[in-house]
Symmetry: C2
Amino acid sequence: MIDLSISFLSKFPPYFRAMFEDKNPQRTPISSLGEFGLIDLLTENIKLKNPSTLTGIGDDAAVMDPGENVVLTSTDMLIEGIHFDLSYVPLKHLGYKAAVVNFSDIYAMNGKPTQLYVALAASNRFPVEALEEIYVGIRMACQVYGVDLAGGDTTASNSGLVLSLTANGLAKKEDVVYRKGAKATDLIVMSGDIGGAYMGLQVLEREKQVFLVNPNMQPELQGNEYVLERQLKPEARKDIPELLAALGTKPTAMIDISDGLSSEILHLCKNSNVGCRIYEERIPIDPTVYNLCEEFKMNSTTVALNGGEDYELLFTIPIEDHDKIKHNPSLTVIGHITKAEEGAYLITRAEQAIELTARGWNGLDESEGEEK
Amino acid sequence: MIDLSISFLSKFPPYFRAMFEDKNPQRTPISSLGEFGLIDLLTENIKLKNPSTLTGIGDDAAVMDPGENVVLTSTDMLIEGIHFDLSYVPLKHLGYKAAVVNFSDIYAMNGKPTQLYVALAASNRFPVEALEEIYVGIRMACQVYGVDLAGGDTTASNSGLVLSLTANGLAKKEDVVYRKGAKATDLIVMSGDIGGAYMGLQVLEREKQVFLVNPNMQPELQGNEYVLERQLKPEARKDIPELLAALGTKPTAMIDISDGLSSEILHLCKNSNVGCRIYEERIPIDPTVYNLCEEFKMNSTTVALNGGEDYELLFTIPIEDHDKIKHNPSLTVIGHITKAEEGAYLITRAEQAIELTARGWNGLDESEGEEK
């Protein structure tokens, strides 16, 4: 079993050479294999497991038999220096995360991801072993989520690493949950808690600065495992669609929280032509996140609203289904849908109504991308 | 109707500022729109036309109803400085080509492309108008090929432009043509002619060098329209699968010629576990290409074998079907399949047998990518 647990933190000091983790000190230049050899190496022994995957890697296109289902397709691009910093993101975690964020989009439609296509560009500062590490992470994610790595494109880059992954998934037509569909009085529910991934990034950035000043300093990561794992090894909420089905409810609208709660709620409201009220006191935030916000002098609600990258699911259910979900530890009701003309507001602990704004990542970091 | 004809060559001197074609002198910074605004602008008024596209842009994933068909998926990544040079590639042509190369992969499986997903990363040296130009090209390709632009991801880059496009297509399960399936005695057939796209690139590179020395020189492009169009505005052979069906034959194996005839033939041979003989004198090469090869002191057969980017279709048909295709002006029989142990050879005009090697683009340019 490949180790993708957060325990790698203790295993690879100095942590801040994550990309160059030296279990394998080889540095094979990509040019020594050629593109064909590289592809063979990265994709060898891939076993297709989904009956829907008729043909994977090795032809002009992959072939998928959806049976009676509709096909869901999502795509996400990760750019070095914009979405990740290789001085503290281990390559296999990067591969894992790149896959998971696509799967998350498929779950957010109430579907199951089935095939993954990987387009990867790397400059010649990346040895073959670095690309293998990325593929270790991608393949691990495929294994965990039961997805077939079914195709892609591998190419040179003259400036850094680019990962562009596309996932196909399946759902029965009548099961698909869109962003539209939320109705006034519906409850707004989310899985898990938020703000962790963003605070994990803050910790990593802080330790990077310390390291740049003094490369012999050990990074202070202990105690922050939760937020670091949220940032470096996010998981898609595969369990939530299953849970909701088991509880006998179906979301009227759903989205995954990739950009921050505020912008995701606004997407649901805009697409459903409704308004909303969410309550500051209801937003689920882990105690570690509260503590770190204090340490970093940040407002935890702002972090929760705009932080992003937690990949929890945000959805609405009819108010009549409240009893079905109210005691479930994975789910939190954070507000309710209103008519469009009532606007979209956060009600603070002091009972102030603050209009939600669609800043997404932009609110915290101008350079971040936004999924269509 | 958007002008994507090669006639733009005469219209926009100096040609070698193609990216900055100044019909629209505006330079709106992307940051002024924000990511959400940019996406809205680029994707406004998209009308979905395929009944298979249930939902396009605007949700976590696109939703497609394949009906009774299997789904084909191909992905291609284009990186600035590796796959294109913006000093002579107009942005709308880049968008058009990025889409077409994916459609070509779907046709090479004997399917029809139906949905396109566009992941795009651009640094802040690209104004909004530049991205709009790319989308003009992408949308034009979608219109010409009857494909819906159904999703994507738009993000920042800190170094140049990256396009990663994925296409879904449909085919009846029994109609799909794989790379495997070629049998000894099958005829090897290709559409159109090859070498043009590569010689177009040579012309563009030469004129770029001239321009760099003297920016007031007008590029000498007249007379080279054919090869320039092959390079800058390739088309996928949508017509060939239809033609073959009309002629009453079905390929036993098929691939599109993106990397050069030699490596594509070897892909077919490897996947089908066969060998081949192709005949130098049979390789269809346009007279313009012969003339340019002479001018550039290149061997036209080497250019045809290793040049790539012509996006013609290469396929095998049973020898019994020879009569059905032999007089068709779009098709040329260039050789035949043999048993694997007989190897893969080019028979020259001098009747020498030269072993084919899988250099693909690598044979001419070390930095080029290779589709899986």
